[in-house]
């Protein structure tokens, strides 16, 4: 017999299918095994669907038959297994059948048969969905999934509070119960705005305050037409604007970054892309506008030519690379390469147009970029020799122009010399020269001093510049002439009629030479003049200094450019002082070999330097020019004894120490040379504080002769350790000072020895505790602010936990703030 029931886990679908199919097919069908039946199900179902529509009457009859048949079925001790083979869910209890389940199953089948249509539909669906049900996940994984889902949910929930929590954490002060923000504390400005000045005095005071900027002047507030836009509109507009701005900024940043990319590969790819683009365009243009296409072709060609002519392909071409490889073994090729280098060097020389020579250097940069152009011209010329005539005409025009200009300049120079022999010719220096002349006329000492300094500086710069320029010019001339020679050769080979070439070339070079000479002369002249003036000025200054009154000196001091000389006790000002200080500096640098020696040492020294500077943070710069290694020369002070006679002490004006006394004193202090003693002491300390070597040699170890022999060099080299670092003393640059280097005074008990958590560097932590907060060091208001308690509570009031309202409030307030801070 057959069994239509199914396991508990799969109640509806399988049983339905069984029951339905029974109605239409003979019983032999059911003698097959259940599994077989199950496999055939799909096919049968299709057939059933077809038959379902066709014979409705048959249907009813057969249905009743089926029902009766089923009721007759003997549910004996048959195997009651699950239809579906799901080992995970198959229960061992399913193997047995119970009466209870039997009945239930019967009911089920009946029900199912009654709603055959719907069931068939449902079955369809289920059949479509799954042929086999996926194996349910194991419990562990399911729980894991649940947990992770739950975690995400909860984090989302909680992250709402993040901002509030953070703002609370950051807040300087929290007030509990939560501070009612509707209450406001008005500042005094409200009072001032309300009380309009009434009396005359008040008005005056107000006007004064206004003038001094303590009160903003009352202005008529410009009426803002707020009706045009609603709040939301303005908000959205603002947001949009901000968005736009952000986007544009982003774009700009991106573009600027892209422009900064230095990768060769990137550039090459870009270039090629561009080329491809251009070719594409060109092809599209070819059909539409042939003329434009031609132009474009030319342009492309030109860029290519320029590219090839540029220095970029100096040694990257196939030829160059091959040559380089060969050059190792072949002498000729080496020569060729050398020539190539020479050529490139010549090409890379900045070419200067002669008419621009007298102008600034700044323009010469542009010329450098334009250098390859003439070459291009020559090449073109080679291609079409007819243009030779044009060149000749151009050169002749050039020559004419230059002759004219030369004449003019010569005439000008002559006239200048006649009019004012001291007027400088060189244009570059004219400004400073004029200044100088004016100063000489004015004859003001102080300004002169300053100007003198300036002039000297200028002079040096000028010399330098000129030297550089001359060199460059020479090089230019040479390169130009070479080029011209080359051209000449080409010409000859081309045999085009251009006899004027040679002449023109000579004349041009001559011109350059002449110009150069002239300028050199001019420079020399101006230099001479400058030197003489400087000398004069120096003499003058010396005289004046000798005759000067102290008051004048003070003035000078104030005006002196050198700040360091300002506070120097000795009378070294102006030029003299400058020189002296220079000398001193050089001297001190010579005399301080210690510092030089330490320069070589490792960073430890620097560290120690830092330490030093820490100790003497307050070391003022202005005294740097005082040599700390020496005693200052005492400045004799005037005494204003007048009618005063000293009693009980030494007479102020009388020779303080008589000869006898002097002799006696000399005798007394004959053997104590204070300075030497001090130095000796310092030296000893220095020696003592030097880190000592560590001797790890074991006496007699490794020696045949026993322990009383001197330690062998091998052992000494290996077992005597010396410290790698030197420990520079704090007082190494202070000659007359000894600073204690031993143990600290115990301040380390009070210092922080471990960095607190978020800090990672000592420097930053130190910066964070650098400012005092006590009322002895900071103003009271600041002190109060700094020591304000983190949490303020009110006595006797409940502190409720935060509610969700806080979030809403915050959002509202933010919006409010946004509105308030809208730009005007």
């Amino acid at each position: 017999m057959l069994d239509f029931s199914c396991s508990c886990s799969t109640p509806s679908s399988s049983s339905n299918t069984c029951s339905q199919s029974l109605g239409y097919y003979n019983s032999w069908h059911f003698q097959h095994s259940l599994v077989h039946f199950h496999f055939d199900l799909t096919m049968e179902l299709d057939q059933e669907r077809i038959s379902d529509d066709s014979d409705g009457e048959n249907d009813a009859r057969s249905h009743s038959q089926l029902v009766s048949a089923i009721t007759k079925i003997d549910f004996g001790n048959k195997f009651d297994g699950a239809l579906r083979k799901d080992p995970a869910n198959a229960s061992e209890f399913d193997q047995l059948k119970s009466k209870k389940t039997k009945k239930a199953k019967k009911d089920l089948t009946i029900k199912a048969l009654k709603s055959a249509k719907t069931i068939s539909l449902r079955q369809n669906q289920s059949q479509k969905k799954i042929s086999t049900v996926a194996k349910p996940q194991e419990k562990i994984f399911v729980e894991k999934l649940k947990r992770s889902e739950g975690y995400i949910k909860v984090t989302n929930e909680l992250s709402k509070w993040d901002n509030v929590v953070e703002s609370n954490r950051v807040a300087d002060q929290l007030e509990f119960p939560a501070f009612n923000k509707d209450l406001k504390v008005h500042e005094t400005n409200i009072m001032t705005s309300i009380t309009a000045p009434k009396t005359e005095l008040e008005k005056k005071v107000y006007s004064m305050l206004e003038q001094n900027g303590y009160i903003a002047p009352k202005e008529e507030e410009p009426q803002v037409n707020t009706n045009q836009l609603t709040l939301e509109e303005t908000m959205t507009k603002r947001r949009e604007l901000a968005d736009l701005k952000r986007k544009t900024n982003q774009y700009q940043r991106k573009v600027s970054l892209q422009n900064k990319i230095k990768s060769r590969n990137y550039r090459r790819i870009k270039r090629k892309d561009k080329m491809r683009q251009q070719i594409k365009e060109f092809e599209s243009l070819k059909d539409k506008h042939p003329e434009e296409a031609l132009k474009m072709l030319e342009a492309i060609d030109k860029t290519r030519v320029q590219e090839r002519a540029s220095l970029r392909h100096k040694n990257t071409g196939h030829w160059a690379k091959n040559q380089q490889i060969r050059a190792k073994y072949n002498k000729d090729i080496r020569e060729v390469l050398a020539q190539q280098i020479q050529l490139s060097r010549e090409l890379s020389q900045k070419v200067k147009r002669p008419d621009e020579e007298s102008t600034d250097e700044g323009e010469s940069e542009d010329e450098g970029a334009a250098a390859p152009h003439p070459d291009l011209d020559w090449e073109k010329e080679k291609q079409n020799p007819e243009s030779g005539a044009d060149v000749a005409s151009f050169v002749s025009g050039y020559k004419k122009f230059w002759e004219e200009k030369n004449q003019k300049s010569a005439a000008k120079a002559k006239s200048d010399k006649e009019e004012m022999p001291e007027q400088p010719e060189a244009e570059e220096n004219s400004a400073s020269q004029e200044k100088l002349c004016v100063d000489v006329e004015e004859d003001e000492h102080l300004e002169l001093m300053e100007d003198l300094l300036e002039v000297r500086k200028n002079q040096k710069e000028f010399e330098k510049n000129e030297l550089g320029k001359n060199l460059r010019r020479k090089a230019n001339v040479e390169s130009v002439s070479k080029k011209e020679k080359k051209v000449k050769r080409q010409k000859k080979s081309a045999a085009a009629g251009s006899g004027s070439w040679l002449e023109s070339e000579i004349s041009v070079t001559d011109l350059f030479d002449k110009l150069e000479q002239k300028q050199e002369e001019a420079i020399e002249m101006s230099l001479k003049r400058l030197r003489s003036q400087v000398k004069e000025m120096e003499n003058k200054e010396k005289d004046e200094e000798e005759a000067d009154a102290p008051s004048n000196k003070k003035k000078k001091k104030k005006k002196g450019k050198n700040k360091s000389s300002k506070n120097e006790p000795k009378d070294v000002f102006g030029l003299k002082s400058l020189r002296q200080t220079e000398r001193e500096v050089s001297k001190s640098s010579i005399e301080n070999p210690i510092t030089e020696g330490t320069d070589k040492q490792s960073s430890n020294v620097e560290k120690n330097d830092v330490l030093n500077s820490k100790v003497f943070k307050a070391a003022p710069n202005r005294f740097e020019n005082i040599d700390p290694t020496k005693f200052l020369d005492p400045k004799p002070l005037k005494s204003s004894q007048g009618e005063l006679v000293v009693i009980g002490g030494e007479d102020l004006d009388a020779d303080p120490i008589s000869q006898d006394q002097k002799a006696m004193l000399a005798e007394l202090f004959a053997d104590d040379d204070v300075i030497d003693d001090f130095q000796k002491e310092k030296q000893e300390l220095n020696e003592a504080s030097k880190p000592k070597e560590v001797d790890l040699t074991l006496p007699g170890w490794g020696e045949w002769g026993g322990s009383n022999l001197p330690v062998s060099t091998r052992k000494r080299k290996k077992f005597i350790l010396k410290p790698k670092v030197e420990l520079p003393r704090k007082d190494r640059n202070l000659r007359n000072v000894i600073i204690y280097e031993g143990k600290d005074s115990g301040i380390n008990q009070h210092q922080v020895s471990e960095l607190p958590y978020p800090f990672t560097s000592v420097k930053e932590f130190e910066a964070s505790i650098r400012a005092p907060i006590g009322r002895n060091w900071v103003p009271e208001t600041a002190h109060k602010k700094m020591i304000a308690p983190k949490i303020v509570t009110r006595a006797g009031q409940k502190i409720e936990p935060m509610t969700i309202d806080v979030l809403l409030k915050e959002a509202k307030e933010e919006e409010k703030m946004k509105i308030k801070t809208k730009p005007k």
Partner: protein, 605 residues
């Protein structure tokens, strides 16, 4: 005299600008003493202002002035945003003056909260500097000055003339006391209100020198070598023939400090509550007067200590020695923190600047040298006539030098070189023993052989005082409160170092310490382990147990050696250099087939 002065005026003398147009003043020297108003407590002022601001909320204002509010109804919000009474901008120069240095760069930190916290803190610091700069406006007083017409020297102006020119209150500050038990040493309290006189022959007197109200006058019947006020005007210490005594303001002896024997000089460090003393025998001693305990006392090995001063910048004690050396001492270190060779000859007198920046010393060779203590560099050197036996520097950098019965005063002589004396005073009480400027007053006190004189030195004292620190007008209650607060804020003696800001630094081991630690590492011994295996009902010592012990010990030793090898001292290298053995592999027969290294000089063609 007038005529003379006028005649003296040179033709070009008018170049110097005249400060006063008033004709009546032309002949008299221009003297201005510091004007002093009673300054109310700064805190009080701000408090009242705040109260005022709090007192009226907008509601109240609306009630009181309805019409006005209607007008300004729209303005209210505006006013909130932009306060009308904006605090004026502070000059960058001033800000720099009060600046606390560079702040924390928080970029390297990830935590947003931390960054914001630090930013908040930086804001507060910025606020405090701004406030400090802004509060300069509260320092309304300007210092006094003495100016001469033309080429007349101010040093020729006598006290009489000055007193004629100044107001009555200032005039009363010049007085002389003729006393018999001299020579006298003096001491002013820190607020400059009270004066202590101590005659060598035992006369001790304390009084409020402004009101001339005597507090006590006693004779201790012993030599008085030095005396100092303690933290308030209620107590003072005197160095007597044998020991140091402490008296109260009524002259009652409170303590006899026998730890301080044969003391020559006393100094009192107010913030540390330390009474420092220098003895005849070269001992230096610090006594904490708040607990009555000697903090430190040791032999300096520098001989008789006759010159002593305190450095207010860092609390160190400066001593002057016959070798021309000035030494700085801290109670925690038994050697001088610094030795400066300030003079080529024996030091005859010494003084520090009240701000603790400069030290002035005078040697036998009549040189006054001024050094910057912080940079330890010389600044000025002057040769004077005569050897000043007493020096003092005022708050505004005026140097007083007493020699014989003459006191010479030099103004602006520290940072810039001076030319001559600013003022000169001849003391009527014979030889000057000690000069001391009175804080916050244009007054110099002179203790001399036969008494005391107080003279006016315009421009010497600081005109603006901080009432929290030193209030000359403080009441009894204020004094009591200040005493308690000072005790609570007592600075421990360990903080006395050359760099007072060391407390804001992190304690990092120095290079020297690291080296020492590494040296120690070389001589470390493997730890001894005392292992006693558990005895499981076994009798006898057992060979096995001994073996286990041995094994464990050796293991521990091996571990230790490994550890040592791992932490090799990198600061120490062998004398012969740290040569690594070249033979990583043992030489083999087949080495001859290896490619030979090329010679460098060969040129490849």
């Amino acid at each position: 005299m007038k005529a003379e002065k006028r005649a003296k005026k040179p033709k070009g003398g008018d170049k110097i600008k005249k400060r006063f147009v008033d004709d009546s003043l032309v002949d008299e020297p221009k003297i201005r003493m510091k004007r002093r108003k009673f300054q109310p407590d700064r805190n009080l002022e701000t408090k009242t202002l705040l109260k005022f601001a709090h007192a009226k909320t907008s509601d109240e204002i609306k009630k009181s002035q309805p019409s006005a509010m209607k007008k300004n109804a729209g303005d209210e919000e505006e006013a909130e945003d932009k306060p009308l009474l904006q605090p004026p901008e502070v000059e960058s120069k001033k800000l720099e003056k009060y600046s606390r240095g560079e702040g924390v760069r928080v970029r390297s930190y990830k935590s947003k909260t931390f960054k914001r916290r630090i930013a908040n803190k930086e804001k507060k610091i910025q606020f405090s500097t701004e406030e400090a700069a802004r509060n300069e406006i509260l320092m309304t007083e300007t210092s006094g000055f003495l100016e001469s017409e033309g080429y007349e020297e101010t040093s020729k102006i006598r006290q009489k003339q000055i007193i004629k020119a100044v107001d009555v209150t200032s005039a009363t500050k010049h007085f002389e006391l003729n006393l018999e038990f001299g020579p006298y040493r003096i001491d002013y309290t820190r607020n400059g209100r009270h004066l202590l006189l101590g005659g060598r022959q035992g006369h001790v007197a304390a009084f409020d020198w402004v009101s001339k109200k005597l507090m006590c006058e006693i004779n201790v019947m012993e030599d008085v070598l030095d005396l100092k006020w303690l933290h308030t005007e209620n107590m003072f210490a005197t160095a007597q023939k044998e020991w140091v005594f402490i008296y109260d303001n009524e002259g009652t002896e409170i303590h006899c400090v026998k730890q301080m024997h044969k003391i020559l000089r006393l100094e009192y460090l107010p913030y540390h509550f330390l009474l420092a003393s220098a003895s005849e025998t070269g001992h230096l001693n610090w006594l904490d007067v708040s607990v009555g305990k000697t903090i430190a006392g040791f032999q300096t090995r520098m001989g008789r200590l006759t010159h002593m001063a305190q450095n207010n910048y860092n609390g160190t004690i400066a001593l002057g020695h016959p070798t021309g050396v000035v030494t700085l001492w801290s109670p925690m270190v038994k050697e001088p923190l610094a030795k400066m060779l300030c003079q080529k000859t024996a030091i005859m007198s010494m003084a520090t600047d009240p701000a603790g920046k400069y030290i002035a010393s005078c040697g036998m060779d009549r040189n006054i040298n001024i050094w910057d203590i912080r940079a330890m560099k010389p600044m000025q050197s002057y040769r004077v006539t005569g050897v000043p036996t007493s020096l003092s520097i005022s708050q505004r950098g005026c140097l007083a030098a007493g020699n014989g019965d003459i006191v010479q005063l030099y103004k602006d002589c520290i940072t810039v070189p001076a030319d001559g004396p600013y003022m000169t005073f001849k003391c009527k009480q014979w030889t000057v023993r000690q000069v001391q400027f009175c804080p916050y007053e244009d007054v110099l006190g002179i203790g001399a052989e036969r008494g005391f004189s107080s003279i006016l030195v315009p421009g010497s004292g600081e005109p603006n005082f901080d009432s929290y620190e030193h209030n000359p007008f403080r009441t009894k209650a204020q004094r009591k409160e200040a005493e308690v607060k000072a005790l609570l804020e007592k600075v421990p003696a360990e903080l006395i170092t050359l760099d007072p800001l060391a407390i804001t630094e992190v304690d990092i081991p120095s290079l020297h310490d690291k080296l020492e630690a590494q040296k120690k590492l070389l001589y470390m011994r493997p730890p001894k382990i005392d292992f006693n295996p558990r005895r499981k009902n076994k009798k006898g010592g057992g060979i096995q147990a001994a073996k286990t012990r041995q094994i464990l010990r050796e293991e521990a030793k091996k571990d230790f050696i490994k550890l040592i090898k791992k932490n090799k001292p990198d600061m120490l290298v062998p004398v012969g250099g740290n040569k690594v053995q070249q033979h990583a592999e043992p030489p083999s027969v087949l080495d001859r087939f290896k490619a030979k290294p090329k010679k460098k000089n060969q040129i490849a063609i």
